[in-house]
Symmetry: C2
Subunit: 151 residues, 2 copies
DNA sequence: CAAAATCCTATTGCGCACAATATAATTATG
DNA sequence: CATAATTATATTGTGCGCAATAGGATTTTG
């Protein structure tokens, strides 16, 4: 076999492993999130707001690495669900401020009680392993981001 | 702070790290794949076929964890690009056999020359680290998959 | 061998992602 | 202060991903 001949093999690729793990996570979360009536992307937007209420679309987008093309329709769906309110900023009417409704705040407790424990069990490893792994994946993402930025 | 009170924090979540890394990979691959005229999902389908030509939709789907709802339109686009042929199996007309065109076979060399080296550089770590990390991510996916299967 | 069950692919509908573009508000500049 | 440049969000179009459903083709069963 020629050198580098298996570089293009699927099982050899970290990218495919990550791609595939992301889908597996989604499938694992889905039945849990169905109880809240949320999708995973909607759920992480809620997490951002649970950490600090009232943020602009841009702030949310920066934290999640998502642009308005993704967030605008997603936020409208969250509004229709009664989870958030969307209001123009008084001082700068270009900005739309997203804030939690009472229902949106209440959903946090459901997430804490039902989702967080279940996922810990699903991942099936200790907290330390989980921690180390998360750090590695974040490092990976950072390397990819910086590589993408200087081209 | 109450115990478990930061369980719902974004930076703490392995799932978000993986979700985010998957997007970063996609962004990193995009300019490289643009040269081939392929998207990343189309590219991994091509990789499956480069490993072994002529496979059914079901076989491809099993390897990539994708169903016909995703693959059917994707394969039609690959056909329109001139990369593959789609033909009904003579013995079992339920099955559609996907095989590479000459152009599809030729694209493998472009991938070997241009894409594989660039990605190795992007990830920015040694081959051993990459290997270990891939194994961990695959373990993670397997844990998530098996958890999802018995509910 | 006919009816039922199963299998494989395709279609439809919805929700991301993201590029490209548009629009409106704000700030900078001459 | 009017015009240009910039900023923030929204819209449009394309391509996944996946659930639900539908359509034939094959296999199983009675």
């Amino acid at each position: 076999m020629k050198p580098h001949d298996n570089v293009l093999k699927l099982e050899q690729q970290l990218c495919f492993a990550v791609y595939s793990a992301a889908h597996a996570f989604n499938r694992a979360y889905k039945p849990l999130l169905d109880a809240l009536g949320l999708t995973y992307p909607q759920y992480i937007v809620m997490m951002v707001l649970w950490e600090r209420n009232s943020q602009t679309v841009k702030e949310i987008g920066a934290k999640l690495d998502l642009d308005s093309g993704t967030l605008s329709p997603l936020l409208k769906r969250l509004e229709k669900l009664g989870m958030i309110n969307r209001t123009r900023d008084e001082n700068d009417e270009r900005q739309v401020v997203i804030s939690l409704t009472e229902q949106g705040k209440a959903a946090r407790r459901q997430a804490l009680d039902r989702i967080a424990p279940a996922i810990g069990y699903l991942v099936g490893c200790g907290v330390d392993d989980l921690d180390e792994m998360r750090n590695r994946v974040i490092k990976l993402k950072t390397a990819l981001d910086s590589a993408a930025s200087h081209d």
